[in-house]
Amino acid sequence: MHIDLKMNILGGQHQLRKTAIITIIAMTLMLCYFTSASIVKLYRAGSPMPAALQEQEVPYRLVLITQEMDTPFWDLVGDSALAEAEKQGISLQIWGSYGSNEDDFLKKMEIAIASKVDGIIVQGLDTEEFNELTKIQAGRHGIPVITVASDVPMQDSLRRTYVGSDHKEAGRLVARELLSDMGQAGTVILIGGSRQRYDQDLRLAGIHDILQHYPDIHTVFAEAPDERERVVSAARDVMNRYPEADALIAVNSNITETLVREIGKRYQQSPFRIYSFDDSPETMELLKAGKLEGMILQSPEEMGRISVDLMVKWLKSEAGPLDMSGYYTNIRMVKAEELP
């Protein structure tokens, strides 16, 4: 009996010991797990410092400067240009002014020239200051300038080349479309803006190229300044003067929306065929809504890609002399009835 009791106690002790050892091992494992987990967490926490740049990794620094930052068109140009720059292994920065702030735009140009970038791809601005900058300042530093989307006269700016739509051809396209829609007689109002005069002139030249062969078509040109109110008043004015007009062409790209809205206020059903050179999403909406007859669709991606490519080729002196007259990207006419 006594021995039995002792045995039981010993057995109990043994059991207890076993439990204690298992508990200790479990505790140790658990604590080890949590400790190592937090070590891993500590190790993973935080992002590394940006790597220091030891040498010139990027062979060329390019700047793309526009007057209209953050517009869908220029976003597309910028994105494709960036993609191309990455592909070529060069650095490209996109600078620009918002809402066509000319002073800011020119300042950006000046900074780009002063900071000695290797090449400037710029939306052309046909002003004296712009031409002065590209011709004298950039020329002094030997910085090549390529205009994109909007051109400036070559001899004034000494730009290397131009990449973008052939605006004269765009004008011809619209004129032909107008002829086929309207027939060979009628009155056409051409409304232009005060900016990007060079593009506008080219477009007008293209339109006249075609329409001059049709004496029964009268063209009237009206200029609408940039400000919204004045576009409205100019539109009213011209509509008052030519209420019998058959078509209306917004030669400057930025006025289409204002114009269409103003016409919408005046007439239930627009008596004009309206054509636009603008391919912004808003204009596209108007086209879909049937407020526009047709519009010119440009290729911003191509512009970005080709301009960077040409600039790099020029810098590497691979392409030889660039075609001064410019590299034209695709344009096509989009009609309201073509859309789904």
């Binding site: 949590f34 937090s38 935080g46 740049l53 000695k116």
Partner: protein, 488 residues
């Protein structure tokens, strides 16, 4: 591994020290790193700001020089130019993958500013005030651009380092957590380690003291075992040796006492046997010769029967004395048996009827001496002597294929079952005093020894229906027994 207590303590202290030192080192290293990173970033901001300040200073110095073209102003201007150059180189070092473009711009702007300054100075020396003021305006603009660009750069830096700052905060948080877990882990491990460590010291002590208690109680036969590898184990070993020594001594003393006791006993026995041997110190040859002489005398006096009887007695006596430890042939045994029967016949006359049926061919086999005579004597004592009408004893020797069967039969009162069993088992039953000295059980034992335990003797008996003793003596293998017995 031998490890003294001191070593164990040193080990514990070392482990604790190493853990604490490594944690301290890791924390210090981490803090240092974090601080370095902070410093680095701050340094960058200061440097960038310095670029802006340097460009403003340069323009101010240039302006001062243009207004008052004194020597000291020129020196100050030069100083400003040096400063901006220095700052430019410093800036150049801050380039990284994120800010490369902006930083390059700033650096080049600074270059342009220095160039424009130089041009301004040149134009001034050429005395062209209009161009001078134009270039100065350009320099002023450039300085503004630098400031702007620097701000953009700092802005970008802030953006770049924002996740990094968050990372630092995250890491600090993680470090706090790690600290808690590490503290728990170390506390736990140290507790376990300390327990184990103290246990490893106290456990052997405990078992040693238990052993000491047992010894103090007088138990010297328990082995002292201590599982340890330090001084305690040495102590335990010494203690164990002491215990063994004491135990041996006690055993020795006990053995000695035992020996002494036995010695005493055997001394007494010796005295007794000496006495006995003194009592029985009659020369047997003297007895034989005397018996022979008496026999001759009886023969001469014409008493032939007495003479024969005496010869038989003498023969029997000689046989008894000689053959006890030897194997003999069945023939000898039968001869002695006849002599014995003759003596007994003289005693019991008609009362003893002895019938013998002996197969002469079997008489060559060997068997221990004095086997048959005690059995016959037993029969005579129990079956003939107590009965007035006497008894019949049959003696048969029969040849069987591998055995010789010897049967001794009487018609006496029989032997009780229990007694038979005790006889066959070889227990001395102490039969009556008038035998020739060799009892039944003695015969059984000797037969067992001789035939190496083979079952050779069978006793059949029934109350009042006589006793039959059957010996089954194997024929084969007898020769060896003879030899071994002779040698022995």
């Amino acid at each position: 591994m031998k490890m003294s207590i001191q070593h164990k303590i040193w080990l514990l202290a070392a482990v604790v020290l190493v853990i604490m030192a490594s944690i301290w080192a890791a924390l210090t290293y981490y803090n240092q790193q974090t601080q370095d990173q902070y410093n680095n970033i701050l340094q960058r901001y200061i440097q960038m700001n310095d670029a802006s300040i340097a460009s403003k200073e340069l323009v101010a110095a240039l302006n001062n020089y243009l207004v008052t073209p004194a020597q000291e102003q020129r020196a100050l201007l030069q100083e400003a130019i040096d400063h901006i150059r220095q700052s430019k180189y410093e800036m150049y070092r801050l380039r990284n993958t994120d800010n490369d473009a902006e930083l390059s711009s700033v650096v080049h702007l600074m270059d342009s500013l220095v160039e424009t300054t130089d041009r301004t100075l040149l134009l001034r020396s050429e005395n062209d005030p209009e161009a001078t003021s134009t270039t100065f305006a350009e320099a002023t603009r450039l300085s503004l651009y630098i400031s702007e660009m620097t701000l953009t750069l700092i802005d970008k830096e802030l953006n770049t380092y924002n996740p990094f700052y968050r990372g630092i905060i995250e890491r600090t948080e993680a470090l706090k957590q790690l600290g808690v877990w590490l503290l728990l882990l170390i506390t736990f491990l140290l507790a376990v380690f300390t327990y184990w460590f103290s246990h490893s010291i106290t456990r052997p002590l405990l078992s040693l003291s238990r052993a000491a208690k047992e010894i103090s109680r007088g138990r010297f036969d328990l082995r002292i075992e201590v599982n340890s590898n330090d001084e305690i184990s040495f102590l335990a070993k010494m203690f164990e040796r002491m215990r063994v020594n004491i135990n041996n001594l006690i055993m020795e003393i006990q053995e000695k006492a035992q020996l002494e006791k036995e010695l005493q006993q055997s001394r007494l026995l010796l005295q007794e046997s000496q006495l006995r041997s003194l009592q029985s110190q009659i020369n047997p040859h003297f007895l034989f010769n005397t018996l022979d002489t008496i026999s001759k005398k009886a023969y001469l006096e014409g008493s032939e029967e007495t003479s024969d009887l005496l010869v038989n007695v003498a023969e029997l006596l000689r046989y008894n004395l000689k053959r006890l430890n030897r194997s003999v042939t069945l023939y000898d045994e039968v001869r002695v048996l006849h002599q014995y029967i003759e003596i007994q016949t003289a005693r019991f006359a008609e009362r003893l009827q002895f019938q013998a049926d002996i197969d002469e061919r079997c008489l060559y086999i060997q068997l221990p001496g004095l086997t048959l005579q005690p059995l016959i004597e037993n029969a005579v004592i129990h079956a003939v002597e107590p009965r007035e009408e006497g008894g019949i004893i049959r003696f048969i020797v029969k040849d069987e294929a591998e055995h010789v069967r010897v049967v001794i039969e009487d018609d006496g009162p029989g032997i009780p079952e229990a007694k038979i069993r005790s006889i066959v088992a070889g227990v001395d039953t102490g039969s009556g005093g008038h035998s020739t000295g060799i009892g039944f059980s003695n015969v059984v034992q000797r037969l067992k020894l001789f035939y190496q335990g083979a079952d050779v003797i069978h006793i059949k008996s029934a109350q009042g229906a006589g006793t039959t003793i059957i010996l089954t003596l194997p024929k084969r293998g007898n020769e060896e027994h003879v030899q071994s017995s002779d040698c022995g």
